[in-house]
């Protein structure tokens, strides 16, 4: 896992574990969580990168169960932000 990234950038690779994947409701939870932080939150999947605070962006990931997403945070609260995003994915978006 690459969460000890360079300088002020923090990143992590997370695996989607909930049964339905990042469907609409999971995206909603993801975006609402990301929006609590001041840091920039970038989410990537394969060669696609989107703004983690934008539902329009996160829906584009269409991450099914088992998919890997990369989360990168940059800013004043980047450590907490990354931890929160990791938590929400590991908690299966509060579904199970």
């Amino acid at each position: 896992m690459g969460d000890a990234g360079a300088l002020t950038v923090r990143e992590a690779t997370l695996v989607i574990r909930n049964q339905q994947g990042m469907h609409a409701r999971a995206c909603q939870v993801f975006v609402r969580t990301a929006s609590r932080f001041r840091s920039k939150i970038i989410v990537g999947r394969d060669d696609l990168e989107v703004d983690g605070k934008s539902i329009l962006g996160v829906l584009m990931l269409a991450a099914e169960p088992g998919a890997e997403i990369h989360v990168r945070t940059e800013g004043v609260d980047e450590a907490e932000a990354l931890e929160a995003m990791r938590q929400i994915v590991e908690d299966k978006f509060g579904e199970e």
Binding site: N18, Q19, Q20, G21, H23, A24, R25, A26, C27, Q28, V31, D51, S54, I55, L56, G57, L59, M60, A62, E64, P65, G94, E95, E96
Partner: protein, 608 residues
């Protein structure tokens, strides 16, 4: 133009015969390039349309919340988030200013990648959701072109709504007009799409996935939508239309009788009272129950909480639903059937896998006892919702005494737990069980001493007793409620119950046929629970006979050798007594078999 029949997927049962009202989505939108000086004007139009679309979605959210449609509400909430996302407007603006697209063109350019990505997804669940993702954009396009959904207020004549797809925020608008919307047919969508679920909730017959629909149908074409078998007949011949109308009249004849029957008691001519209750699945169906003139709810199915959704229901969520139903029906009683999962009703997240013989497999109480956490959550919710004193519960698919003991043990633990926590609940909530396996019939004497009532689930009892898979077309015609073996099974269970001092009800489709209902009353069955739709005609059948006569008829039937003999005898004995329009042209038991065949087809669909 020639008539033809398109085959789709049955999504909500019932027939609808009416001219089509085709809702065209604005696909052929204005894709022209604009001059740079037009850009600000286009952006202004877009702002207006966005605002109106948000308003429409916000309104739909309120209505879905009132209906308790949590999943559809989640979906619309996400649509609303999309439209409120500043990134959306920025993306549109970039296309309009930078690429000189019209507002319509900009929306299409922004939404196309989503549709592409979802429709080509390797996971079928994501493919099914392609429409949902596009729904938000479509709402804006509609408003942009002022192509709002037709004003149903002005609809005078019945119509069949035809569309490529319907989003939940669109379907919700049909609710207030269900008198005139006799059916829905869509080219896309699946049985589990939110709109199909809503159509079922509203009681509007619906077929989805009818390929070719949009190309073939024009507004005004007559359609016959069959929500049992999943077919849409286009421009049917005069005779075919007449046949369908006759069937429809039969199915709807109860409506005219509603007013006169609703407030009359369900008693035989010589004064024996029969409890007539209704079966429901969703809290909103309570309205149908109250209108039907049923006394209470004899079967409240709870599988809905577990299927077609990504996560387990919480205790609070279930408590709210059970409590709402109990309160609305008070002082009459409501029987909640605990989760009957497995068989054809599986949710992938529950860890169930495809079985070679799902109906002989991990289902009913077996499944529940294997998921004690989930089961306890439900039991807690039921006990807590029982505070009004009119709630009962029953276990499905009990086969052995040991299973019953184990389930009762869990109930005792849950009661103790709730008492310890000081949470309000009904410690004396009556517990019954379904009699739907031959082994339960033959152990009925032991089991009757441990429960407060029996409820015969005729659909499964028939299938297990006669060894008939209802979903298998080649043998579906052998599915036969009037087979003497079935009647004797019911008789045996009722007598065992009587000896132990408990009552027995019947809650399957079998009870929905007026002649069969009289036969069951004659077998000393005390409660009939059927779909709200069947309640009025059963009531008028019971009111037309004497208890003594019904008992004599039943005793004679128990001695017969075949279903054909029973059927002929029932027709001879009862038809002169029963109101003619109740019986229609069907032979006794025939409707059951038709319904069974239809249910079989849809079951297969659910498994595939």
């Amino acid at each position: 133009m020639k008539s033809r029949t398109l085959t789709g997927i049955p999504a909500s049962p019932g027939f609808g015969v009416a001219p089509a009202l085709v809702l065209r989505s604005p696909e052929a939108a204005d894709l022209r390039r604009i001059a740079p000086e037009e850009a600000e004007g286009e952006l202004e139009r877009l702002r207006g349309a966005l605002a109106r679309a948000r308003q429409e979605l916000a309104q739909a959210l309120v209505e879905l919340a009132e209906l308790g449609e949590h999943e559809a509400r989640d979906m619309v909430e996400v649509e609303l988030m999309v439209l409120e996302d500043p990134a959306s407007f920025a993306a549109f603006a970039e296309r309009i200013r930078g690429e000189q697209l019209s507002a319509e063109g900009a929306i299409q350019a922004v939404s196309a990648p989503y549709t592409e990505r979802y429709s080509a997804h390797t996971d079928p669940r994501f493919r099914d959701r392609a429409l949902d993702v596009a729904a938000a954009f479509r709402a804006v396009l509609n408003h942009l072109q002022r192509r709002e959904l037709p004003s149903f207020e002005r609809l005078q004549e019945p119509v069949v709504i035809v569309a490529r797809d319907l989003a939940p925020h669109e379907t919700i608008r049909f609710e207030a007009h269900r008198q005139r919307i006799v059916a829905i047919a869509t080219e896309g969508g699946g049985r589990t799409s939110h709109s199909a679920i809503l159509a079922r909730t509203f009681g509007i017959p619906c077929v989805v996935g009818a390929a070719g629909l949009m190309a073939e149908v024009q507004s005004g074409d007559w359609l016959v939508v069959d929500g049992f078998s999943g077919t849409v007949e286009l421009r049917p011949s005069a005779q075919a239309l007449e046949r369908r109308r006759r069937r429809l009249r039969l199915l709807t004849s109860h409506r005219e009788r509603l007013a006169e029957l609703r407030d009359l008691p369900c008693v035989t001519r010589d004064g024996r009272r029969v409890e007539l209750s209704a079966n429901i699945e969703l809290p909103v169906e309570v309205e149908h129950v109250l209108l039907s003139g049923a006394r209470g709810i004899g079967l409240y199915r709870t599988e809905f909480f577990y299927l077609d959704r990504p996560h387990l229901p919480t205790e609070e969520e279930q408590l709210e639903a059970y409590e709402t139903v109990a309160r609305r029906i008070h002082p009459e009683s409501v029987i909640v059937r605990t989760m009957d999962l497995g068989g054809d009703k599986v949710a992938s997240y529950l860890g169930a896998t495809k079985e070679a013989n799902p109906f002989l497999g991990w289902r009913g109480i077996r499944f529940a006892l294997n998921h004690p956490g989930m089961f306890r959550t439900q039991l807690r919710a039921i006990y807590r919702a029982g505070v009004h004193g009119n709630l009962k519960m029953m276990f499905p698919m009990v086969t052995t005494y040991a299973e019953l003991e184990q389930a009762l043990g869990l109930c005792a633990e849950v009661r103790a737990e709730l008492a310890r926590e000081g949470l309000a609940h009904d410690p004396a909530l009556p517990i019954g069980m379904m009699v739907e396996t031959p082994s339960a019939v033959w152990s009925a004497d032991h089991m009757a001493r441990r429960v407060a009532f029996f409820s015969v689930g005729s659909n499964d009892l028939i299938q297990y007793t006669l060894a008939i898979d209802r979903g298998n077309e080649r043998i579906a015609h052998l599915y036969e409620p009037l087979e003497p073996a079935i009647l004797r099974s019911v008789d045996h269970a009722v007598r065992a119950g009587r000896t132990a001092g408990i009552w027995t009800g019947v809650c399957g489709e079998m009870a929905g046929d007026p002649r069969v209902a009289v036969l069951l009353v004659g077998l000393d069955v005390e409660e009939l629970s059927v779909s709200p739709f069947d309640v009025p005609r059963l009531k008028s059948a019971v009111r037309a006979v004497d208890d003594a006569h019904a008992r004599a008829v039943a005793q004679a039937c128990l001695e017969m050798r075949s279903a054909a003999e029973v059927r002929a005898y029932l027709a001879r004995e009862l038809d002169p007594l029963l109101p003619r329009d109740l019986l229609g042209e069907a032979e006794p038991g025939e409707e059951n078999r038709e319904a069974a065949a239809a249910a079989g087809e849809s079951d297969e669909e659910g498994v595939a």
